[in-house]
Amino acid sequence: MYRVVKIERIKKETPSVKTFFFRDKSSPMPGQFYMLWLPGVDEFPMSISYIGEIKGFTVKKVGAGTSRMHSMHEGDKLWLRGPYGHGFSPMNGKILFVGGGSGMATLAPIIERLPGDLLIAARSRDELLFMDRFKERKIYVATDDGSLGFKGFAHELLEKILEDTKYDAIYTCGPELMLRKVIDIASSHGIEIQASLERLMKCGIGICDSCSINGYRVCVDGPVFGSHELAEMDELGRYRRDRAGRKVPI
């Protein structure tokens, strides 16, 4: 059953990303997600990006559903079910958070709970998410076009950073190809890692098999996985399943 929540405030974060604030009685853990229904339009998974009395979804405009959301106003309603899935768990030592694009939305709540440095990456300067929200932290910046910070991909910057600085643990979320590289780098440096994955989700509750990757269900076994499970996922960064369940190359 859905709960109906009212959008109390909308904040434009970047040209393609907005945060929608609302109240809801649920108590999500960092890394958990909700299924968000826009009646007559679509239903899709969305990570919680603000935890607390006032909660938030930080949404990148990519298709029909998210576009509709971007055209919504304060006072409009959202239908949701959840929270679902396994979120992030605490790790020890010196921590680095690696967020690519809207992946920062998923990471934000765990960043708020744990000390550590950030690596924020995006296509260009104005797509960098939550630079302000975490301005007290040490932030490494990478942009594809070099409009701010390191020119290049997140994982390229990560390799450079690790030449000088030792980190014990990485939390990451972002585009799948980035994730694949970040995981491989962490593994070769012996760094513990937790990554939040994205897959097509139909049910969100672990029965339809649409989100599976190497036998793991992203919706209930994940979306956050640890080093051990990630090591077994040879499909990650290589194959995904389409709406018909076909295995297709990424």
Partner: protein
């Protein structure tokens, strides 16, 4: 104590994964097998890839689930690899298929056989897909023809899965009598409306109801058919614990399938049900679960 045989197939326990739940990818089926299932029925596979309906395709109710996945499936030509992977689990794999006519069913069954499945299950009962499933499954002549033709075309056992959306499940079961086993039941046609949204929740509007609320309907169907058709029955619908599984078997089922409970109880549900069944059998001095099949039939 829980071992059963159906059509010469041996099952280490009578708890099979139901079609449509975590059985689209080979890796997931393998995982379910390793979680303790006695056998696996694949998602229903058709002639061509189908994306299924738009979201929402599922809706959680306090006492069950409503779904209209829409027979999403990768298509038979893409399914060989998944079967191969699933077979690594060492338990019988039953290939579920759906078609729009006799020829499609025959083609699909042969293809499944060539992939190495241990049996095929004919989905004659999906409640929410135009031109498939129960639309076919309530046409007695067509049911008889499909079952008959598929039987002639393959060497592996043929199971027929029957709809409860009928005034006589016995009549349909009799039409499907040539099958090697009958699977009872699929979901019931149902709908939920969100009054705040003022519309049905599922994008397809109508879906199938599964879970605990289905159990009394499934038990009734098994009980009714047991005395009328002399074929093994596999019971499905709302099984959540050992008592539920025993209830179906006492009604007349030789084995059962489990779907929605994987959501409510997790993949551990197969081992927990098996444990509860063993405890009950032990406490009641039964040596083998086979001895209770049909035990509740009152003459």
């Amino acid at each position: 104590m829980l071992e059963v045989d159906i059509n010469d197939l041996h099952f280490r326990n009578p708890l099979l994964l139901a079609s449509g739940i975590l059985d689209e990818s080979g890796d997931t089926m393998l995982r379910v097998a390793r979680s303790g299932a006695g056998g696996i029925v694949t998602k229903s596979i058709g002639m061509v890839p189908r994306e299924g309906y738009e979201n929402p395709v599922i809706y959680e109710l306090p006492y069950g689930l409503l779904n209209a996945i829409g027979l999403a499936n990768p298509g038979i030509e893409n399914f060989g690899e998944e079967i191969k992977k699933a077979k690594e689990g060492g338990v019988p794999i039953i290939g579920s298929i759906f078609g729009g006519n006799v020829d499609e069913f025959v083609y699909l069954a042969k293809k499944m056989e060539s992939y190495g499945v241990d049996a095929v299950e004919l989905n004659l009962s999906c409640p929410h897909a135009r031109g498939y499933g129960m639309e076919i499954g309530v046409d007695m002549e067509l049911v008889e023809e499909i079952v008959g033709e598929v039987k002639k075309s393959v060497g592996i056992p043929v199971w027929a899965k029957i709809t409860p959306n009928t005034d006589s499940v016995v009549r349909i079961a009799k039409a499907a009598e040539k099958a090697d086993a009958l699977v009872l039941i699929n979901t019931i046609r149902a709908m939920a409306i969100d009054i705040d949204a003022r519309r049905p929740v599922l994008s397809n509007k109508i879906g199938g109801l599964s879970g605990p609320c289905l159990k009394p309907v499934g038990v009734r169907a098994v009980y009714e058919v047991y005395s009328e058709v002399n074929k093994p029955i596999i019971g499905v619908g709302g099984i959540q614990n050992g008592r539920d599984a025993l209830e179906y078997m006492m009604a007349g089922a030789s084995a059962v399938q489990i779907g929605t409970a994987v959501y409510t109880h997790g993949l551990e549900v197969f081992t927990s049900i098996a444990r509860e069944m063993k405890e009950w059998l032990h406490r009641n001095d039964y040596e083998n679960v086979k001895d209770i099949i049909g035990a509740a039939q009152v003459k």
